[in-house]
């Protein structure tokens, strides 16, 4: 217990320095602003502000980028509620009940509950970070490459199979991501692979280009026609925001459950806020007394996903900071930021640079508080942003994406990559494939390979040791169980389809 207190003390000492406070505010503000814009989600926002963070010291950089992350996740829900256009993929679920609430004239209420639920979930997530991180670090110090391999493989399978419409499609997307990750320099042999003879590909495909193309550009393409049809004209007053006692009472349970789900899936590598929101929503619908209310403005339909979302965002930092395994694609960008600053995330971080670890954790409190306090009065500002016609917004967004990608390497080739992956992302969406698993496969692929080869070397080719070592054996067994369960559900669903048709 005193360990936690001393961590909090150290953390706040770092976090309340004027620089860190200022950049926390900047991050939260810019993040919310970019999250509100349709077509730019948390990942694009963090990626675009990444170059700015290069000039800051590591703690401040993480403080700012963290603020951008959860700010953007919050801002995305504003667009979901008011325009039925998710600002971030994980806010898609908020549209389901948020937009009907707007149509019923309850937009203010929806926005208010989003803020409260986000703050609630975020607080619990940060608590989880404080409690779990030291535990994980102490266990992880005994981790070898076999354990990392098992954990990452579990993450890959989880990303492909949890809450996916078709596990086969999810797994094939993870496969594509892994293959894309192979492009570039092979660490073990020094050979460039799959580079098509192009010098620009020898170092691999720029992750940011893939992310911005697949998520940003393809989202923009889809939004152009849709955004035009939905002008928003309501007036949102402060009084309209207040929930009735009944609505408040009905939201508490979903907020707790959502946070639980969010915390779990945020902390697992491979699954992140998006999946947490889907599962949270599905759970609420299933246990509700009157499920037919969902999709028509049920307050539980917002409270749970938003709490899950923000909780997952906070807990996603746990594997990222303690193990060096990104808890979600956006976390991969954060990891990149850390590495650029010469900070090595992993079990050693907490011991070597505690002021970074706990300072960043403390700044999350501050940032979430800022979100709560600022966004209620500033809601008018965000609404005005959304009223800007989309045909004026999206070319600007595209410019920001292109410049953002260019500033990372100073190479126009990366912008062409954005084009290629924008097209690929759009086509894949049309074909009803999920895109997040590709990114996860892309980031985790090189790590999987490195750890697998290293472990094979240490075990001298004796693969049974993966299973006999307790931790890696357990995780791999869980992975196999997950796969088996997925296959079984697929078979069962197909049998049901055959029976219904026959």
């Amino acid at each position: 217990m005193d360990a936690i207190v001393s961590h909090i003390a150290l953390g706040f000492e770092t976090a309340v320095s004027p620089t860190n406070l200022a950049y926390c505010f900047v991050g939260v503000f810019l993040g919310t602003f970019m999250g509100v814009l349709p077509g730019i989600g948390a990942m694009a926002a963090v990626s675009m502000l990444l170059p700015i963070s290069f000039y800051l010291d590591p703690t401040t950089a993480l403080v700012m980028l963290g603020g951008v992350y959860y700010g953007a996740e919050y801002g995305g829900s504003t667009s979901s509620i008011l325009l039925n256009l998710p600002g971030t993929p994980s806010n898609a679920v908020t549209c389901l009940d948020g937009y009907p609430m707007t149509q019923q004239g309850r937009a203010g209420l929806a926005l208010f509950m989003t803020t409260i639920a986000s703050f609630f979930g975020g607080t619990l997530g940060i608590l989880a970070l404080y409690v779990l991180a030291p535990v994980i670090v102490s266990v992880a110090l005994a981790f070898g490459p076999a354990e990392y391999f098992a954990l990452i493989t579990f993450g890959l399978v989880a990303a492909a199979t949890v809450a996916q419409e078709s596990p086969a499609k999810g797994l094939s997307m993870v496969g594509l991501g892994l293959l894309l990750g192979f492009v570039g320099m092979d660490i073990n042999s020094g050979f460039p692979r799959f580079d098509l003879g192009l010098l620009d590909l020898e170092d691999g495909i720029s992750f940011i280009a893939v992310a911005m193309g697949m998520f940003g550009v393809s989202e923009v393409i889809g939004a152009i026609r849709v955004a035009r049809r939905r002008p928003f004209n309501q007036k949102v007053t402060f009084r309209s925001m207040m929930p009735t006692r009944d609505e408040m009472r009905r939201s508490i349970g979903p907020m707790w459950r959502g946070a639980g789900i969010g915390g779990l899936f945020g902390a697992l590598p491979g699954t992140g806020p998006s999946i947490a929101t889907f599962i949270g929503y599905a759970l609420e619908k299933r246990i509700a007394r009157d499920p037919s209310r969902f999709g028509h403005g049920a307050i539980e339909g917002i409270a749970s996903p938003e709490s899950a979302n923000n909780c997952a965002v906070q807990t996603a930092f746990i594997p990222t900071l303690t193990l060096g395994i990104p808890g979600s694609p956006t976390m991969a960008v954060m990891l990149g930021a850390l590495i650029v600053h010469g900070v090595q995330p992993g079990p050693g971080l907490m011991g070597d640079r505690p002021e970074i670890f706990w300072g960043v954790a403390a700044s999350f409190w501050i940032g979430n508080l800022l979100l709560l306090v600022l966004n209620i009065p500033m809601i008018g500002l965000w609404i005005r942003v959304l009223k800007i016609p989309y045909d004026l917004l999206y070319p600007a967004i595209l410019c920001l994406i292109c410049i953002g990608v260019y500033t990372l390497r100073g190479n126009s080739f990366d912008i062409f990559l954005v084009l290629v992956f924008g097209l690929a992302g759009y086509v894949l969406r049309l074909l009803r494939f999920e895109l997040a698993p590709i990114l996860i496969g892309f980031i985790l692929g090189p790590m999987v390979e490195e750890n697998l080869r290293r472990a094979a070397l240490i075990f001298r080719g004796d693969y049974t040791q993966f299973l006999t070592r307790p931790i890696s054996g357990t995780i791999l067994a869980l992975t196999a169980l997950l796969l088996a369960w997925t296959v079984w559900s697929m078979v069962r669903a197909r049998r049901r389809r055959v029976a219904e048709a026959g």
């Binding site: 293959l179 042999s189 989202e219 393409i221 152009i224 070319p395 292109c402 969406r429 080719g461 197909r494």
Partner: protein
């Protein structure tokens, strides 16, 4: 919520045919096929590198395995597509083409000609994707955006961009 447009062929839902093998989800068929083709391409490519053995993996080993699995998965998706109904999605060609062409213009113009021409080109070309395009509005937007970008990125952030230059 991406608007993928109407589903072509969706009207064939109640074709009255009880024969499952005649119903195909075309979307998944194409999707699975695409994945399988990409998997095969990587599989073929992986043989250019030394494969090695499971005990001593060469650079081509894991790509070969993953590519093989991915190809099989693509085939699985195609198999699952039999017995389900579904048509092809209708892509929105104009927005997609405009956005992508705009990005291409930016990529091609940025280094030789500078930030301003590239940004103007991107705004103008991508604006063509809007079905209710108003040319004058787009032109003004192009100028404003280009100027704004210059101020933020070159002046405020000090990044090395040329405003306009001759190649």
């Amino acid at each position: 919520m991406i608007d993928t447009g109407a589903r072509v062929g969706a009207g064939a839902r109640h074709s009255g045919s009880r024969d499952l093998s005649k119903r195909i989800d075309t979307t998944d068929l194409v999707g699975g096929g695409l994945v399988a083709v990409i998997g095969l391409a990587f599989l073929a490519g992986s043989f250019a590198y030394e494969i090695g053995t499971p005990q001593r993996m060469g650079p081509g080993f894991l790509p070969m395995v993953v590519a093989g699995i991915t190809t099989v998965l693509g085939g699985l998706v195609m198999l699952n597509a039999v017995g389900r109904e579904g048509g092809l999605p209708r892509p929105q060609v104009r927005p997609a083409a405009a956005v992508l062409a705009g990005i291409g213009a930016f990529a091609g113009l940025l280094e030789p000609f500078g930030l301003v021409p590239a940004a103007v080109a991107l705004v103008l070309v991508s604006s063509l994707g809007d079905p209710e395009l108003r040319l004058r509005r787009a032109a003004i937007l192009a100028v404003v955006v280009a100027a704004g970008l210059w101020v933020i990125f070159a002046e405020l952030l000090g990044l090395p961009f040329h405003a306009v230059r001759l190649p």
